[in-house]
């Protein structure tokens, strides 16, 4: 087979694989952006010693354990605490004052992966004295990532970078005030996670589950095609209260979305939007 014929076969087989996963496991990757998926599926093929996507499909369909491990390749992103520190400064300045006007608030981190952003948000809310009245929904489709998020334990080696970002994000204390170190790990205070509900939720197949005052969904939409982006944004829009806020990743926007007219973009470099 020539190189090009192999590549055509790859894309065809990839589509079949996504269909098969959907029908067998109800995980819907059919509207994920292909360029990243190709890379991840290639990595999964290497991991399981498969020479073709079809071979991988065979194993995924017949061995749930192989699917569980493949899910890691499909979903886990390297998450960080206080990624884009200016985003958290903008939350303090713009979103927190809005939250304060309510006796109780709900926040949603969609696609929370291993939970670094959940901790970051909880710390901001704590320092701004609104954590006690908050409920944070942290959702993801990957049960293993959710498990890590729930545990709140991260390698201590990552704390130097996280601490620097925490301070750049306007942190008023020291990040080490929020965790204790043991056996090479940073174990974050349970109190930060007491107000968090971790749940399995798919932006591709699930609907709104609660009314919320703020949705943060950063660097998730870049993995979706436009159709799925629109679906997810529709879910966020429906979930938001009147004048509620939506935060996206620094390179994401509503520019290709049908929802662009229903959400107002706030001035500044941060991708913060407000329901009209």
């Amino acid at each position: 087979m020539t190189q090009h014929a192999r590549e055509d076969a790859f894309d065809h087989e990839l589509k079949l694989l996504l269909d098969a996963i959907y029908h067998r496991y109800q995980h819907d990757f059919r509207h994920y952006a292909l360029a990243s998926l190709r890379r991840r599926v290639s990595q999964a093929m290497q991991r399981f010693g498969c020479r073709s996507v079809s071979q991988l499909q065979d194993r995924i369909l017949h061995e749930p354990e192989v699917f569980a491990q493949t899910l890691e390749y499909f979903t886990v992103q390297v998450s960080e605490m206080f990624r884009d520190p200016d985003y958290f400064r903008a939350l303090r300045a713009e979103v927190v004052p809005f939250l304060r006007t309510y006796p109780s608030v709900k926040l949603w981190i969609a696609g929370c992966s291993t939970g670094e952003e959940v901790i970051s948000l909880a710390i901001v809310l704590d320092e701004e004295d609104v954590l006690d009245r908050s409920l944070i929904y942290a959702t993801d489709i990957n049960p293993k990532a959710l498990g890590v998020a729930k545990a709140g334990v991260y390698p201590i080696a990552r704390m130097a970078q996280f601490s620097a970002s925490y301070l750049a994000a306007g942190g008023t204390r020291s990040l080490s005030d929020y965790y204790h170190a043991a056996y090479g790990s940073a174990i974050f205070d349970r109190s930060l996670r007491q107000r968090v509900l971790y749940a399995d939720h798919s932006l591709a197949t699930d609907a709104v589950f609660s009314e919320v005052h703020f949705v943060s969904c950063r660097n998730v939409l870049i993995y979706f095609d436009r159709e799925l982006q629109n679906r997810a944004l529709g879910v966020f829009h429906e979930a938001l209260v009147h004048r509620g806020y939506l935060g996206l990743g620094s390179r994401e926007s509503l520019r290709f979305s049908a929802l662009a007219a229903s959400l107002e973009e706030l001035p500044g470099r941060q991708r913060l939007y407000r329901k009209r």
Partner: protein, 198 residues
């Protein structure tokens, strides 16, 4: 579309993917200022810089280039004769439909953006209509990607290691993938500037 594309070394090139690292700003400046407004291919660029340098590359490079220089935005269509720079902290990929894609997947070769990630996706998207260029740098990013470009039928140029500020990256590309041309920067600039409308 292909009728309008310039022939060079017997083939038409629709996109040029460039990877640069340590010493790369000067090298890129030299290449970009050689390109005339009639330059046809789109230019996709990964340069390793820390994620905190928001918007810096576009600011530094745009004044030296007759072509529009933009930061790559997710799902933008690739426009010919335009320079797209990978945003710091994101991988830049390109789809066969000629649209850009960003990802925050784990760093590759300790780099995000990674040259390999751009090159491998571009090789898949453009096949023989792609030219890959590896410039100065102190790591090994780009070598596997350049190999992918060559396997898909694309052209590979590498900056002559002896004239690179950091020879490691060109050397590892040559060792791993080889190249159609090994060029000093000034020659490379002259050759690249030939991809113009007839």
């Amino acid at each position: 579309m292909s009728a309008k594309q310039p022939m060079h070394a017997g083939r038409s090139i629709e996109a040029v993917a460039v990877g640069a690292s340590s010493g790369g700003i000067d090298a890129l400046t030299l290449l970009l200022q050689a390109l005339p407004p009639s330059f046809v291919p789109a230019l996709l660029l990964v340069m390793h810089i820390p994620a905190s340098n928001e918007g810096l590359l576009v600011e530094v490079l745009a004044p030296h280039c007759a072509l529009p220089v933009r930061e790559a935005f997710d799902k933008d269509s690739v426009v010919p004769g335009t320079v797209y720079v990978a945003p710091p902290g994101y991988h830049l990929l390109v789809e066969p439909a000629r649209t850009l894609a960003l990802s925050v997947d784990e760093p590759v070769n300790f780099c995000r953006p990674s040259i390999d990630v751009l090159f491998e996706s571009a090789a898949y998207a453009y096949r023989e209509a792609l030219l890959g260029i590896v410039l100065t740098g102190a790591n090994e990013d780009g070598a596997r990607g350049l190999d992918a470009i060559r396997r898909a039928g694309g052209l590979a140029w590498v900056q002559q290691p002896s004239t690179s500020v950091s020879p490691v990256m060109p050397e590892s590309a040559l060792r791993y993938a080889g190249a159609d041309r090994i060029l000093a920067l000034s020659e490379m600039a002259t050759e690249l500037a030939r991809f113009v409308r007839p």
